[in-house]
């Protein structure tokens, strides 16, 4: 951090609008930066450019009709969004789904986590100025999208995980292709580490930049990799297990401050790399244990829950994704409230950026990995 108070000459602050059309705001986000030279004195995020009234929309739709809309919130982790909705709805309805369905859901969610983290890491590299890792990441993400495509026909917005089941069973080639992917993907994590993670310039740019203390993180309600990078072992897959996560053996990586302070941008970056390795472990175990069965047997013909409310949450790539659903006993929900992890994470931006330089705003914004589709909904 640089001391701004030492200068004797009085100067005026400059206000710089970063976005909504800016290459590094990861979508249509406008940041109002108050600058003293190149030093940030205040950051005000302006959101809402992507608002589509998702929550209000839900009140006019039947429960199964909501599924494709959940895809469009965090569009880099659609499988996770669907899973969250399914978990909440099944809790509300009190239905048990077949084991095969649960296993496939876990495989899909973990593949999606890898794909989402690849985008986060790749674009982070591009933000710092290293463009090549970005294309390496997208190359590998493409393989995952291909796996999704052979499963349900869509590459980005799947409409795959339904309440009580799945839209399709797995493609016959899926298991083999996924195993091939895992075998190909493991060395590329090392490649990414070599070209980016342990690069001296990259470490200089990210270590000790945008430190998020544990206390601030908890006070703001930050979750997911951003919280874990600050050193807290909190993961809903372990601490409040849903689906069949309790059956798998995996670690929760946390930030250790290897190159700087715990909770700096490098830690947030590196936790995601470690999480990809853990996801690979889960997928391998799930593929080994994958049971047989019918994936559509438990889908209710007509969803009409009793009056009441439910909060279902899952660990999405960006943190805790929660659905609070109030039912009035009809076929449409009375209210759906989504707790979007990116929305919560964006609030800490102002805290993190104070006193750093313009280039660091990009570093910090990239490291907290937000998706605007989820913030605005």
């Amino acid at each position: 951090m640089i001391n701004t108070k030492s200068s004797a000459i009085r100067t005026e602050e400059m206000v710089l609008n970063m976005g909504p059309q800016h290459p590094s705001t990861h979508g249509v986000l406008r940041l109002e930066l108050a600058l003293e030279g190149e030093i940030i004195t205040k950051v005000t995020p302006h959101i809402g450019y992507l608002h589509r009234c998702f929550e209000k929309h839900c009140e006019a739709m039947t429960y199964p009709q909501i599924v494709p809309y959940t895809d469009r919130m965090d569009y880099l982790a659609s499988m996770g969004n669907e899973l969250g909705y399914a978990v909440a709805m099944e809790k509300l309805l009190g239905i048990e789904v077949p084991q095969r369905v649960e296993y496939i859901r876990v495989i899909m969610a973990e593949l999606q986590r890898i794909a989402s983290h690849l985008v986060a890491l790749g674009t982070y590299g591009a933000d710092i100025g290293a463009f090549t890792p970005f294309l390496y990441c997208f190359r590998d993400r493409e393989k995952i999208l291909h796996l999704f495509e052979i499963t349900c026909g869509a590459r980005l917005l799947y409409n795959y995980i339904w309440v009580g089941g799945l839209s399709h069973d797995l493609h016959p080639d899926f298991v083999r292709k996924t195993r091939d992917f895992i075998k190909e993907f493991k060395p590329t994590i090392k490649e990414l580490n070599d070209i980016l993670s342990y690069n001296k310039i990259f470490i200089d740019r990210t270590a000790n930049v945008g430190i998020l203390p544990v206390k601030t993180a908890i006070n703001f309600g930050v979750s997911g990799p951003n919280l874990r990078a600050s050193g807290i072992k909190w993961d809903i897959r372990k601490d409040d297990p849903y689906s069949v996560y309790s059956k798998f053996d995996f670690d929760i990586p946390v930030g250790k401050g290897t190159h700087g302070t715990v909770g700096d941008s490098w830690d947030r970056y590196f936790v995601r790399i470690l999480e990809m390795e853990e996801s690979l472990k889960i997928i391998e175990q799930a593929l080994d244990q994958l049971p047989d069965g019918d994936v559509q047997s438990a889908i209710p013909k007509r969803i009409k829950p009793n009056a009441g409310h439910v909060y279902g949450r899952v660990e999405n790539p960006r943190g805790e994704l929660g659905y609070f659903i109030i039912s009035d006993g009809s076929t449409t929900p009375y209210r759906v409230k989504v707790r979007a992890p990116s929305f919560v994470t964006l609030q800490i931006l102002g805290e993190l950026c104070k006193g750093y330089m313009i280039a660091d705003v990009i570093t910090i914004l990239g490291s907290i990995d937000i998706v605007l589709g989820e913030i605005d909904r």
Binding site: A130, T132, L135, Y136, R139, I195, F202, D204, M357
Partner: protein
């Protein structure tokens, strides 16, 4: 030579002087810089593509070799947009100045023993001075655009170029001390023979000084390569145009052919600094292993060979610049300044003193 030809043609020395002057000054542009820029832009795309597991341009011509020509035609056709709040005279003049600055440097670069635009005795001094024009052009562009991003970009750029000129000068100075000349042509002539006569290997001759100079020369080469990289605003020092922060830096507001002039200037600059490095440390246009012309007894082949050697050396360093660009991330402004003021300048200074001491012996 050219002048005599025109005197015969026109029978008038004044017209002949003007005509040959125009022709001689345009010749390097059409013979070398434009073809080189076209090639370099394509090479950058292909190099980056193959480093990133892609193919790059493939549609226009064989493996997309016509792509740059198509791009240039597109840029010429584009509407020349000048935003209403710009300072118009400065805005229009800036790209010309930047282009002229980097193009003028080519005048004193010895492409071969027979092909030097203008044989200036203070060649290296002239090149460093004339590339200083680029700074003024960049500052003009940033200020005249009346855009905060452009202004930030141009201020960063000027700070960067000015800081990195110092280590460059110190290294050049040490070379001047050793060789006792500022003319690039003489410098290249001194490194004739085989590659162990190059200054990177301590210079010509087999005295004790040569071997004492080798480590200092290696350090000097590394310093000048890093600082020239910063002077041409390439990764990891591309902060002025940092795409992810400042959109496009000082040329955010430019479009069409004015943008193309900045773009061509960047590539011309890349070659100019590579050529300086090649001329100072890697024997200039001299062949490392002797000439085919000497072997066959064909005198006129030698200058052509020299030209090819020089082009190859320069292009190799341009390739290394591209290689670095597609491998490394970008430094932050304060870190960039720290590299220059905390590391390069002190090391270059000590190196200068050491080299001075060795030459004194």
């Amino acid at each position: 030579m050219m002048y005599d030809f025109f005197v015969d043609l026109f029978g008038n020395t004044v017209i002949a002087g003007i005509a040959s002057g125009i022709l001689m000054s345009l010749l390097p542009l059409f013979l070398f810089i434009l073809p080189y820029a076209l090639l370099a832009v394509l090479a950058e795309r292909k190099v980056s593509a193959h480093m990133q597991d892609r193919l790059g341009p493939m549609r226009i011509g064989w493996h997309g070799w016509n792509q740059t020509i198509a791009d240039i035609i597109k840029l010429i056709q584009k509407e020349d947009i000048v935003a209403s709040d710009t300072d118009k005279p400065l805005f229009n003049f800036a790209p010309v100045l930047v282009f002229a600055g980097s193009y003028a440097a080519f005048a004193a670069i010895p492409f071969s023993s027979y092909y030097i635009g203008s044989e200036v005795d203070l060649g290296i001094f002239y090149i460093i001075a004339v590339t200083g024009l680029v700074v003024a052009g960049i500052l003009m562009a940033g200020w005249a655009s009346n855009n905060k991003y452009s202004l930030l970009g141009s201020m960063r750029s000027v700070a960067q170029i000015v800081s990195y000129e110092i280590p460059t000068m110190l290294v050049v100075l040490s070379l001047v001390m050793v060789s006792e000349t500022m003319s690039l042509h003489t410098l290249s002539e001194m490194q004739t023979g085989y590659f162990w006569n190059w200054y990177i290997f301590g210079g010509p001759g087999f005295s004790l000084t040569k071997f004492l100079l080798i480590p200092s020369m290696l350090i000097g080469f590394i310093i000048i390569y890093i600082s020239t990289l910063a002077e041409v605003n390439r990764v990891p020092f591309d902060i002025p145009e940092a795409e992810s922060e400042l959109v496009a830096g000082y040329h955010t507001e430019y479009s069409g052919m004015k943008f193309a002039m900045f773009f061509l200037a960047e590539y011309a600059n890349m070659y100019a600094v590579s050529a300086i490095v090649a001329a100072l440390f890697f024997g200039g246009y001299q062949s490392p292993v002797g000439y085919l012309g000497n072997l066959l007894g064909v005198e006129w082949l030698i200058p052509i060979e020299q030209f090819l050697w020089f082009a190859a050396k320069g292009l190799f360093f341009v390739f290394v610049q591209m290689w670095l660009r597609w491998t490394l991330p970008r430094l932050r402004v304060d870190q960039l300044m720290a590299v220059s003021w905390k590391y390069l300048i002190p090391i270059a200074f000590v190196n200068l003193i050491v080299i001075g001491f060795i030459t004194l012996i």
